[in-house]
């Protein structure tokens, strides 16, 4: 004779197994119906923090000038992350459809490193350099715009090196020399001259 409490225990367990099986079948069906999630590429987390006013040195191909423009963007706390965010904001302008200085689609700043006291390294991706338009003015506008925007918004930078995909490159697109460090004091003078149409 099976004791009564054992019968009740087995019945409760059976009920639990049946209930969980039903719940799992339902979850599986729900998962099958849900749309496939797109695998994101390198999606940086959105910057957190309050919006701050920054100065972007924006290039205009016609008439070949550099104009300082204020922008309000959310900036993270870290100095290095802030530097990268400011340059991303600049690039975003150049990647707009009606950009004043179009850069190739897919252009990105991979990283900005603040390595030495006073030295910054901008690491652009290959898309930016490989398909950049060729010419002294158009390449200079890109380079000066990046360096001047960085030094204007991140205090204490006096030398900037530009790499492409982590490697040194001789020129941006056949003209602008990337082998040397850019002295920000010299770049500021060039930026001043590029502000005006002579």
């Amino acid at each position: 004779m099976i004791p009564r409490h054992l019968k009740i225990g087995v019945a409760v367990l059976l009920a639990a197994v049946l209930g969980l099986s039903g719940y799992m079948w339902r979850l599986k069906r729900h998962a099958a119906r849900a749309p496939l999630a797109v695998e994101p590429g390198h999606v940086a987390p959105p910057p957190t923090g309050p919006k701050e006013q920054v100065t972007l040195y924006v290039a205009y191909d016609d008439p070949g000038i550099l104009v300082s423009r204020g922008a309000s963007i959310a900036l993270p706390q870290g100095r290095q992350e802030r530097a990268q965010e400011v340059l991303q904001a600049l690039l975003a302008r150049y990647l707009e459809e009606d950009s004043s200085h179009p850069l190739p689609a897919g252009s990105e700043i991979r990283n900005v490193y603040l390595v030495d006291p006073g030295m910054a390294v901008i690491d652009a991706n290959a898309a930016l350099a490989d398909r950049h338009r060729s010419g002294v003015l158009v390449e200079e506008l890109t380079v000066i715009s990046l360096v001047q925007t960085l030094s204007a918004n991140v205090p204490g930078i006096n030398r900037v090196k530009i790499l492409v995909d982590g490697k040194e490159r001789e020129t941006l697109a056949g003209h602008a020399d990337l082998t040397n460090l850019f002295d920000t004091a010299n770049v500021q003078q060039v930026a001043e001259r590029l502000k005006a149409v002579q």
Binding site: H175, V187, V190
Partner: protein, 494 residues
Amino acid sequence: MPWIKRPWTLRQRVAIPVALAVAWASLGYPAVAEDKRITIFSPLTGFSLPVTERDGHDYVGLVEVLEPLGTVAATKDGAKWKLRFERRDAEFVSGQTEARIEGKTLTLAAQFRLESGRGLVPVSGLGALIQEVTGTKPVVFHEDSRRLFVGKVAVRFTEELRKDSPPVLVLTFTSPVSPTIASEPGRVRLTFTREPIMPPPAAYSKFEDPVIVSAQYEEGNGVAVLTVTTSAPLLASFSNEGRTLTLSRAPQTRASLPAVSATVPEAGTPLASGTVQVPAAASNGTATGAAPAFDSGLRHFFAVIDAGHGGEERGAGLSNELPEKDVCLSFARHLLKELQSRGISALILRDADVTLTLEQRASLANSAHPAIYIALHAAAEGRGVRIYTSLMPYSANANGPFQPWEVAQAPYVRTAVLAAASVAAELRKHQIRARVLSAPLRPLNNVIAPALAIEVSSPDEDLPDLVAPNYQQSVASGVADGVVNVRAQLEAGR
């Protein structure tokens, strides 16, 4: 006993300095031959190292030799010095001439030296040592000239005197070369510092030609030198992507007279691609009938015009069928004519569709010792003309005749800015938009003369106007006028 000050005797006065000198010498300070160097060539790199003299033998740091060739690590264990190159092990003992390399014993030409953890090996017999340590074959060592070839790196060349009119000496190399071209009265010296040049079958070649007399190959102190004896000015031109170097007699025009002369020279014969003039013997009076003109050698060319890009390097694609390199060359030819018509002697570095590296451009330009260097570019973007100077700040020349390559332009920046302003002013007089800017643009920084880069765009939104002969002529004329206006300042700076 109280100390009494006494004047030194004559014997003491002589003996003390002598004793000090003997003590100094007895310290055994090693003599350092700073000017001695060894050059190592490998498929990956070519580099030069200083040679140190110890006890009458030449030594070199073994780690310094191996570092550019692969992964190397060295550890000091008392008098022993263990070395690992890639996966090969070697062991040296300070003061010993025998070394153990991969289980084998190798006898060095002199004892191994350990100085502050740095292992020094004798230069003599270095080829055999490097072959054992690296396991590379072949390793060839030209011991007398201290040139070490690790692996299959040899660049060979042939010399051929072609009986053209005028005759030309054609040097054909198996790989691109970029020698330093130096001129002396009666000789042209091609110095190969980075190229693993191997000796030709005959070190001395005598040619049956009154102008290009002979060629002598020599090696020494890590470099190879080819000296061509000549009795008239020569032009050196690169072609075949730097594999062919042609030496030919310079055109006998009065254009080679100093530009400050009031004489208007004849329009010169178009020069060959990538050319630079090198002088002949000062004693020669027959080539041009103006011996003094040869005394200053390459200084005869007041302006060097460098047509941007060329050969494999197309530059900007101004349109599907119009590469920048062609527009640059067209402008260069216009500018040459305009300068010559104003009494300015000028040289085009690239007068054909050939590839020249930035280093070759600067080197060729510097060899010509011009008063001004003008690089030409063309662009679809922008309107009018932009005149660029180097981005580097001015600094006075504190190095005499030897300028650091990377900042060679620094002493000339002020004059270059002056010339740029003058050119811009003249272009505006021709109703052409002109801006003066500075840019990170090579090879401006490497040129030892005021250097400008001129980028020409269409005068309006119509790209075909960029190649319109009238527009090119007008731009060239404005640039030439601008140069003429600052001729005195440019001449003063030479």
